[in-house]
């Protein structure tokens, strides 16, 4: 439907012509509506998929490689981050076969500590920036926040959109901010956090997803984890359909990150089912799907151990972080 308008791989050329609020409104409100009841029913139906045996083991291993191991607390210290990095590189000290996670996710001032620990390994450093989690700061401050994180060595930046501007219909402003942050990221990957709980409706989720993708997001992400509810299966379903449709229209692949409240392997596998049956196989890779979590990792390891040995191990057999 939009494919003729979206030939440019970055969506940039096209956007140059229409970054006014009115033009963006026309585009975003022209997307097919989302029926909330239907989305909830579909998400509930897919939650009944029964994943067993080798399919479960493959899912658990894949989920480990998709984890953005996260600590975003006021009480974070370099020591806490170093310990998290060790866990990220070698999730199970007793089993070298467990792959490392995708990234550790920290505040900008701890990027250097994480980078020092992770060195040249495969685990990336992701940093929230742009006055996370509220985003209530001027663009100048947000860009400085991003530059700080990138200069300290962040490989990935998780920015928040200005939900106030979005809800007020100032789509142009949201769009310009994302483009400016994308530019400030340089080579770092940009994940755009929609904070779907504050957007409230699934129609808004679709519109914000498209807006972020058009503005150059490498990933769209559900939540900061600081507002409840964080990631939910219906929201993830809608975002996965959006990246699928965007790829069809523009040819550009955009990833999805679900974050917040995902604590069990069962939850993680349910998200993978959503990915598999909505966006499709291409997205079943850490390059295009991430799970932002902290306590999830140990449950993945515990369930993995159960699949391999037939028995559960106690909590104390898994490291705290």
């Amino acid at each position: 439907m939009l494919s003729s308008q979206l030939r440019s791989p970055q969506g940039g050329d096209w956007l140059a012509g229409v970054s006014s609020d009115a033009a963006l409104r026309q585009l975003l409100h022209g997307l097919p509506g989302v029926d909330q009841v239907g989305v909830h029913a579909r998400a509930a139906a897919l939650a009944t998929r029964s994943i067993k045996k080798e399919a479960k083991l493959a899912a658990l291993d894949l989920a480990v490689t998709m984890v953005d191991l996260t600590t975003l607390e006021g009480a974070d210290t370099p020591g806490k981050v170093r310990s998290l990095c060790a866990k990220a590189m070698r999730p199970d000290p007793a089993d070298a076969a467990v792959p490392p996670v995708a990234a550790v996710c920290v505040y900008p001032d701890l990027v250097a500590a994480a980078k020092a620990e992770l060195g040249r390994g495969t685990v990336a450093v992701a940093s929230v920036a742009t006055a996370f989690p509220s985003g209530r700061a001027s663009l100048k401050v947000k860009l400085a926040d991003v530059a700080d994180a990138v200069d300290a060595g962040a490989d990935e930046i998780d920015m928040v959109i200005d939900r106030g501007a979005f809800l007020a219909g100032r789509y142009g402003q949201v769009c310009e901010e994302i483009r400016a942050v994308k530019e400030a990221c340089g080579p770092a990957h940009l994940k755009v956090i929609l904070e779907t709980a504050e957007l409230a409706t699934l129609d808004n989720v679709v519109r914000a997803s498209w807006l972020a993708m058009l503005a150059g997001a490498d990933f769209i992400k559900t939540s900061t984890g600081k507002v409840s509810p964080a990631a939910t299966p219906p929201v993830a379903l809608v975002m996965l359909a959006a990246v699928r449709d965007f790829e069809q229209a523009s040819g550009r692949l955009v990833g999805v990150k679900v974050a917040g409240g995902i604590r069990t392997a069962k939850d993680a596998i349910r998200y993978l089912v959503l990915v598999n049956e909505t966006a499709g196989r291409t997205w079943l890779a850490p390059g295009l799907f991430r799970i932002g979590a902290s306590s999830l990792l140990n449950d993945l390891l515990r369930q993995r151990g159960k699949q391999l040995s037939g028995r559960y191990q106690g909590q104390d057999y898994f490291t705290l972080d």
Binding site: M1, P32, G33, V34, D35, V37, G38, V39, A41, R42, T48, R49, S50, I51, K52, K53, E54, A55, K56, A58, A59, L62, T122, A124, D155, P187, A188, H189, A241, L253, L272, N276, E277, G280, R281, T282, W283, L284, A285, P286, G287, L288
Partner: protein, 492 residues
Amino acid sequence: MADKAGEGAVAVTSGLDWQYAPAPESRDVVAIAPRYGLFVNGEFTQAASGRTFPTINPATEEELTVVAQAGPADVDRAVAAARTAFEQVWGPMPGSERAKYLYRIARIIQERSREFAVLESIDNGKPIKETRDVDIPLAAAHFFYYAGWADKLSYAGFGPDPRPLGVAGQVIPWNFPLLMAAWKLAPALATGNTCVLKPAETTPLTALLLAEVCQQADLPPGVVNVLTGAGGTGAALVAHPGVDKVAFTGSTEVGIAITEKIAGSAKKLTLELGGKAANVVFDDAPIDQAVEGIVNGIFFNQGQVCCAGSRLLVQESVAEQVVDRLRRRLATLRVGDPLDKNTDLGAINSRRQLEKITELTAAGEAEGAERWSPPCELPSRGYWFAPTVFTGVSQAHRIAREEIFGPVLSVLTFRTPQEAVAKANNTPYGLSAGIWTEKGSRILWMAQRLRAGVVWANTFNVFDPASPFGGYKESGFGREGGRHGLAAYLDA
């Protein structure tokens, strides 16, 4: 940094080829006896003639057991037992007492739901996902719902003291064996009637398990009787002079035969017959959810649903997009072992039904419609039919007019709302319809003009015991479910 971005790009091109491992529900919960009798006057007995017939698992063609074939003598016996129970026990019993039995049956169905779900899947061929999440919970819900009415009939709008009709002869189909039994029995019993139920020839087992539940609930003998058999048994039952009320769900052909047979008698009749529902998708529809609704509309229960959305009417301006998305979605449907918890489409119920579907789809191709199915491997034994979509269908094609009762969708297009209504109503049937649009006023405008008993808006194939269900024209008359469902069993 650049390395990591590059690594991401590599991963992008090779996502995990994730195959779900088989996840079969255990059969152990069900014990199928080597032979089954008729349930008459609270006891299981053999047919007077001693005749039996086999019932098979349509997914494997394995013979499950043999079941007694009821003849005229058995019908006499069952109707007499029902009459006695009506006059001496059930009719005079206060509604609040009848309700206790219905609540008890509902609870036992819930307690034994896994057993019912597995047995239904085995005997019918439908996926365990559906029996577990739809058939069995809804059957229990119907008993719960009508139990609530039993002591409130004076306030139901049928006068101060509406009376039951007497003995109900009820003949039900094979597509939702237990659920249709519940639809028939629950309102009849709540209103004080007694019942003789004739389940379909190919799916008798859950009705017999329900008979066992009646025993377990201490339901007085003769209140519910179950006669297994084929068409002849049903014909003898509806023609029996001791029957006051006939309720039939099934084909329009048999419905007409029943109507002719009982014309001129004092019997009351309700019929729930075939359908050829239009599922109407407008250009402003929530497209992805509409696609889900189309899939649910025609592939739920392998399309063996009288209210199936077998005609997709899609606005021309979005037809290509909707069909593309539908095809992509159908490629993810999982066809196979009905007992696998991940199966979306199970087996066709019988060889006869498979032949009918095969014949009609061949006619569709011969008449020039374009046929498409997703790549899917069908099991070598059993009765299977791949999900099928016909595009380029016109109103004149047989596949747009005749009920196929299988996983076959006919796609037609329209240009204006007026044309959508005209095409949707241009059928001898009138059981259900669906409307997909984000515009509320259009939903109401359409619903007023569609001649169908049920009109779904932005959803399809959703059922609730509180909502009446029934047809226009050749889809039958009378309503089941809700307060309306009481009227069919009351002298009002």
